[in-house]
């Protein structure tokens, strides 16, 4: 695939995403012309791009879609749910066609082609031929002259000419039609007062195909002919051009609408005004002169130069509304440019390379720091600590580069929720919050599937059918929430529904049946709910309101665990369930707390460290201490990792916290904070519990990184067991 095609595919995918978004918005507010124009622009851009890369199957498909959008825009057809669904299907199809192009296949395969023509037939049958049909042009008679227009705000524009706005498609020349011939023919029914040739869409020389047409025309046309006759001039190229005709003395709002529809980036306000024929060249020149003149006439400290638009308004040569529309459009263009200029696209692997290097720098820095401390030279130590601080900043900045907002991932679900709720015959609204929460890009990519699963599950089994909801005294419309926020070094993503909640008893029954728990075993609600994540639990039949899709919740949990995250569920019967996914912010580098046991060093992620206390002697023999009146279970690393030898006289407890649970880790010595680059352990250590990875110390030694979550679970499970045993004996 050559470079242009790659760019086209990437950009078209963005356009498609925008198209989809806009379509979904449009469903909510079908009267909003701005959104409709956004839809049209996206489709148009894709078609134009496809023309440039000469991908005919995309051009021809998108062309029909664009025709429908055009009729929609002209108010010839009305938007409804069916049309939105159809257009969404079309946008999916364009996505598939892009895949075909990206794969380098010359044409879509039979299935895809059949799908395409089915969609086209539906578009053609239901939306292009329906209604006005062949006499479409005359259905909007050139009667503007007779109507009282002043009520629509802004009144009529000065010009008494027709205004014709023409954009030719790329293929007109190749199809043997010359725009010049049509324009000449136009002069047979009237007089061209002013014609502006617009070549803005012509690409740079290398990309420009001499046989494609890139031209458009804005024409001020004096004629007594009616609109239908003018349209007839372009009959032969109707399919290959975009034609807008405004009758003489049109309403200002019509010009405003036209301006926002034109594909060009209007470069200068004056140019636009001339193009639409609202101003003559003389009026514009006058305006321009006024704008440049002041420095000579006035003193240097005179009022700031008035923008051209205001001058024109002041002279009453153009109505404010028109200028506003032009300014807004220009501003949008500028904003877009500015936004584009602020963004740089770089390949992800370059970024990964940078992060790797920063990781190495962190390790090397630690080594320098250690050596400097050993020398005891004050100035050297000071210098290295400064370097250390800078390295830390670089690390943070580098990691920040990889952070992306989760909003985009969330927004994808708008479509999913819409489609699935239609499929299921449920009415479900999606509410998204915390979309600006950032997390590592690699996480965002991997979290999509588990999220999708949770969302589908919630809709399929969580939220009840509308009649059931009404019967239970809830609003018929179900509600699904996606939320994200930061919490002590983790990001938490929640999927919540207001459905029936998990059925505790049925989960218990199922779990017993599957041999996951013993009959009569006493479990807390949380433990029971978490059973749904066990392998082999779901999928077979409909269990309460969960399961189904062939992929079990165990896969969801495994996916999340592979990201060093956890998932938890809470539920209230009759009120809904909430799944909370907790993920670390980044996968690569963490701030660690270095501790020693025997001669080995271990790293505890600093985020999870709450405090450090001395282990008092009298706690020997027990695995919990009294922490300010609270029972704190702990784990002795010395025992856990089976160190030989005597424990030193003084041991320390590092109090750690994870997901609301606290536990202690007993170590020999505390060695302070330490920046850590996580190196993953090999696959053979995969099932070693309690170790999350390894890192290299400044001295070159290896330190293991403790998996705090696993240790806490071990501690609490241990203590709960012990606590429960006496209870059951009693």
């Amino acid at each position: 695939m050559d470079e242009i095609t790659t760019v086209f595919v990437t950009e078209s995918r963005e356009q498609l995403a925008a198209l989809e978004d806009a379509l979904l918005q449009l469903e909510g507010s079908p009267e909003d012309n701005d959104i409709l124009n956004a839809v049209f622009r996206s489709a148009h851009t894709i078609k134009g791009g496809a023309g440039v890369v000469e991908c005919n199957f995309i051009v021809s498909f998108t062309h029909v879609v664009e025709n429908v959008l055009d009729r929609l825009r002209n108010g010839e057809i009305k938007l409804n749910g069916d049309l939105v669904a159809l257009l969404l299907a079309c946008s999916d199809h364009i996505g598939n066609l892009l895949d075909v192009l990206a794969a380098g296949t010359p044409a879509p395969d039979a299935d895809l082609a059949a799908e395409g023509s089915a969609l086209l037939n539906r578009l053609q049958r239901d939306w292009l031929e329906k209604g006005s049909g062949g006499d479409a042009p005359s259905s909007t008679p050139p009667s503007a002259r007779d109507e009282p227009l002043h009520s629509s705000g802004g009144g009529e524009v000065e010009t008494d000419c027709w205004h014709i706005s023409l954009r030719f498609g790329p293929d007109v020349l190749r199809n043997g039609m010359d725009p010049l011939a049509f324009l000449r023919y136009l002069t047979s029914i009237g007089r061209i007062v002013l014609l502006e040739t617009i070549a803005d869409s012509m690409p740079n020389a290398d990309e420009m195909n001499a046989e494609s047409c890139y031209l458009g025309f804005e024409i001020s046309f004096a004629s007594t002919a009616d609109k239908a006759s003018i349209e007839r001039v372009f009959d032969f190229v109707r399919d290959d051009c975009t034609l807008h005709i405004l009758p003489p003395h049109s309403k200002l709002s019509d010009y405003v609408a036209l301006m926002s529809q034109l594909p060009e980036d209007p470069m200068r306000l004056g140019e636009i005004l001339v193009r639409v024929g609202a101003l003559t060249q003389a009026e514009l020149d006058d305006g321009l002169r006024k704008q440049q003149a002041p420095p000579e006439n006035d003193s240097a400290d005179s009022a700031p130069q008035m923008p051209l638009g205001e001058i024109l308004v002041e002279q009453k040569v153009v109505s404010p509304e028109l200028v506003d529309a032009a300014i807004i459009k220009q501003k949008q263009v500028n904003d877009k440019r500015a936004a584009e200029a602020r963004l740089i696209r770089i390949p992800a692997d370059k970024l990964d390379k940078l992060i790797d290097l920063v990781g190495e720098l962190v390790i090397a820095g630690a080594s320098v720091n250690l050596l400097a401390t050993n020398t005891g030279i004050g100035e050297l130590i000071e210098a290295t600590s400064l370097t250390g601080r800078l390295v830390e900043s670089i690390r943070d900045a580098a990691l920040q580069l990889r952070m992306v907002q989760i909003g985009e991932t969330f927004n994808r679900f708008t479509r999913v929720v819409r489609d699935v709720s239609r499929e299921l015959g449920k009415d479900i609204e999606l509410s998204i919050s915390g979309g600006d929460t950032e997390l590592d890009k690699s996480m965002v990519e991997k979290i999509g599937d588990p999220l999708m699963h949770l969302v589908r599950n919630a809709m399929d089994h969580g939220i009840e059918a509308p009649d059931v909801r009404v019967a239970n005294g809830k609003p018929a419309r179900g509600r699904l929430e996606l939320n994200a926020f930061h919490d002590s070094g983790s990001i938490i993503i929640e999927v919540a529904d207001d459905g029936g909640g998990l059925n505790r008893d049925r989960i218990m029954a199922k779990a017993v049946e599957r041999g996951l728990i013993q009959p009569g075993q006493v479990l807390t609600d949380a433990e029971i709910y978490n059973l749904i994540f066990e392998a082999g639990f779901s999928t077979a039949e409909q269990v309460s309101n969960l399961s189904g899709r062939g992929v079990g919740m165990d896969v969801v949990r495994r996916n999340i665990q592979s990201l060093r995250g956890t998932v938890e569920v809470s539920s209230t019967v009759g009120q809904g369930s909430r799944f909370a996914i907790r993920l670390p912010l980044t996968l690569a580098i963490i701030d660690g707390f270095l501790v020693g046991v025997g001669r080995s060093a271990y790293v505890i992620p600093l985020d999870s460290v709450v405090e450090c206390i001395e282990l008092t002697r009298d706690s020997n023999g027990r695995d919990y201490i009294n922490l300010r009146g609270e029972v704190l279970p702990f784990v002795r690393l010395r025992e856990l990792f089976e160190f030989r030898g005597e424990a030193p006289a003084r041991q320390n407890v590092v109090v750690v916290q994870y997901a609301g649970l606290k536990a202690g880790i007993v170590v020999d010595s505390l060695m302070g904070e330490f920046q850590t680059v996580i190196k993953p352990l090999g696959t053979i250590f995969h099932h070693v519990k309690g170790i999350g990875g390894s890192t290299i110390l400044g001295s070159g030694e290896v330190a293991l990184i403790l998996d705090v979550q696993a240790l806490i679970q071990r501690c609490t499970a241990h203590e709960t067991q012990r606590a429960e045993q006496p209870a059951s004996i009693r």
Binding site: D178, L180, E196, A205
Partner: protein, 103 residues
Amino acid sequence: MSDSQSGTRVAIVDDMTIYNASAQKQQLLDALAVHDEFEIDLSAVAEIDTAGIQLLILVKREAGRLGKRAVLVAHSSAVREVVDFFNLAASFGDPMLIPAREG
């Protein structure tokens, strides 16, 4: 089509229509690559269509972009008529009847 290239003048000797557009595009861009300033002699262009006009727009724009000058000279009557029709005389900015050299 051939180009009788004398100094910095490129002559277009064929019709500027869609049939010759690709070749002429190359010819003009080649000239643009070599010269900082050159003239395009249009005296022998008996017919010009939209594709031809597009080429002239392209060359003019490209020259402007590169900080070079491509001057249209000796317009044939066909070219003059179409340039006028498309209202491009002003944006091309070249005198249409008198060759630039003598002016």
